[in-house]
């Protein structure tokens, strides 16, 4: 198997998979060269300090095993974080979190980050 145990765990039992019906923001990115499409739904609320945090996050992905695992791992990493913190999640962190990805699959993790960034940026635009 070309994938790490962690990737396979996420692929078998993805976390936060599904959609949020009245989401506060949605980000969607697709990659034509690979045919992957990732969609991230966010529900935003405030913590005690008054910072905006990701209260709930869900994903929908059409893509390879790596794309699905990246989506799952990303949502786990982002959940509960402030929007500022979530914007700081990098593709390297996801790859590390997953115990590595085959080099040709690393672009999948970029897509996940892009979808999350897009959702947060959209939220920031409509609320500030």
């Amino acid at each position: 198997m070309q994938y790490s145990k962690k990737v396979i765990e996420h692929f078998r039992n993805p976390h936060n998979q599904g959609l949020i019906k009245n989401a506060d923001a949605i980000g969607q990115v697709g990659n034509l060269s690979c045919g992957d499409i990732m969609k991230i739904y966010l529900k935003i609320s405030e913590n005690k300090k008054g910072e905006e945090i990701i209260k709930d996050i869900k994903f929908e992905t059409l893509g390879c095993a790596a794309a699905i695992s990246v989506s799952s791992a990303l949502t786990v990493m982002a959940k509960g974080k402030t929007l500022v913190e979530a914007m700081e999640i990098t593709k390297d962190q996801i790859v590390k979190n997953l115990g590595g990805l085959p080099p040709v699959k690393v672009h999948c993790s970029m897509l996940g980050v892009e979808a999350l960034h897009q959702a947060i940026e959209k939220y920031n635009k409509s609320h500030n």
Binding site: C34, E60, C64, A67
Partner: protein
């Protein structure tokens, strides 16, 4: 997993070595280890095995033993056929522009040598295929020119299993060669076919097909990897590509792979003996699999033209799920298949074969190739059809609605 066993449905990639084949190979590793080129007894004993294999292969292909050139596999045989013949023809036609024909769905072992010839100034026509994955005879006839000297078309496509009209093309070429001889046009057209995927199922007699050259490989017919053959009809102009010895009539230098050759000789003998029975069984399994998959899984597209394919192939698109994800999910259940999806290829490009057949990218991405073999059983098909429908449903549910 089905009864804790793995299920192998990727026979187009490779096949398990038959026990009788392995037995035929074993003496030639450390007991009968001579170099068949050596004239002492050690060498000559090994050379007997090579001669026996050569005879078996010649019988299967209905040609002469001296027309069999052993190679390291079909990739080398294809390279030798394309470069060997076209280089020899270029030499004898210096200054003349030559034209050659192949198809858009060839194995890269043929396509890439043709691209190289193109770079070197040879004119190349890449024949398109229809939705059925087969070359059209009218299109082929139209592509022919007065300076066409070489044609290479595969017998069976490895991804969808489509059978190409090799015998019909052979007849057209024969007729043209006769006409040319009458018109004092010295150029003959030489015809090569890569028959790797056909050997198990179809008549591969070179005279039946009307081909001058034919490539085959050991590991697709329950034989060993690392051994193949290029059959070259006597009188065909061809020059060696790999130089440095005088093996195989100077056409393929390199010490012969005696155990591999002995195995290939045995594999091809078994292949010829059980062809019809295996064909019937595999066809039954494949057709049942496709019919039941259609009933159990909505929105699937069968890319294999069932009426014009080898019985082994079922190439199916599961629209709305991604092929590599399906492959990995099946692998986790112990089921081995392959995919035409870009996400599984190093190039991240969807299958050029499906593309040539007019299959859209997003559908090609959802493609799985199941290839059945002689050891598969009805129970295995049942097990796969239990696992596959919920697995596709799960992946489709994960995808965003577009």
């Amino acid at each position: 997993m089905y009864k804790n066993k793995t299920i192998y449905l990727d026979h187009s990639a490779t096949t398990p070595v038959d026990k009788a084949v392995l037995k035929a190979m074993l003496p030639y590793f450390s007991r009968i280890y001579g170099n068949p080129s050596s004239i002492h007894n050690f060498g000559q004993t090994a050379s007997i095995a090579v001669s026996r294999a050569r005879k078996n292969i010649a019988e299967f292909l209905n040609c002469e033993a001296k027309e069999i050139i052993f190679t390291s596999g079909a990739t080398e045989a294809d390279n030798l056929a394309v470069f060997g013949v076209v280089n020899a023809l270029s030499k004898s036609n210096q200054g003349k522009k030559l034209h050659v024909i192949t198809s858009a769905i060839e194995h890269p072992a043929v396509l890439e040598p043709f691209r190289k010839l193109e770079e070197e100034g040879i004119e190349v026509t890449y024949l398109p295929v229809g939705k059925n994955g087969a070359v059209n005879l009218e299109t082929f006839k139209k592509a022919l020119k007065n300076n066409t000297v070489f044609v290479s078309i595969m017998y069976v496509n490895s991804e969808v299993g489509s059978i190409q009209p090799i015998r019909e093309i052979g007849e057209i070429i024969k007729k043209i060669n006769q006409d040319r001889a009458g018109e004092n046009n010295k150029n003959k057209i030489y015809f090569h076919t890569d028959a790797v995927q056909a050997l198990n199922f179809l008549n591969c007699g070179v005279k039946y097909l009307g081909v001058d050259l034919l490539s085959l490989s050991g590991h697709k017919i329950y034989g060993p990897k690392g051994v193949g053959v290029l059959a070259v009809k006597a009188g065909t102009p061809i020059s060696g590509v790999q130089l440095g010895g005088h093996h195989e009539n100077n056409l393929r230098s390199g010490t012969l792979n005696v155990p591999g050759i002995a195995g290939l000789g045995e594999a091809i003998k078994i292949c010829g003996k059980n062809k019809e029975k295996n064909n019937r069984n595999i066809l039954k399994l494949r057709n049942e699999f496709v019919a039941r998959a259609r009933r159990l899984i909505p929105e699937i597209i069968i890319n294999t033209d069932i009426k014009n394919s080898t019985p082994s192939h079922a190439n199916i698109s599961f629209v709305g799920a991604e092929g590599e994800a399906i492959l990995i999910a099946l692998d986790l259940e112990g089921i081995a298949v392959s995919t035409g999806s870009a996400c599984a290829s190093a190039s991240l490009k969807a299958s050029p074969v499906l593309k040539a057949m007019g299959v859209k990218d997003e559908i090609a991405h959802s493609t799985i190739r199941f290839t059945f073999g002689r050891n598969n059983t009805k129970a295995e098909i049942g097990a796969v059809l239990k696992i596959l429908p919920p697995l596709i449903k799960k992946l489709r549910r994960m995808a965003p609605k577009l």
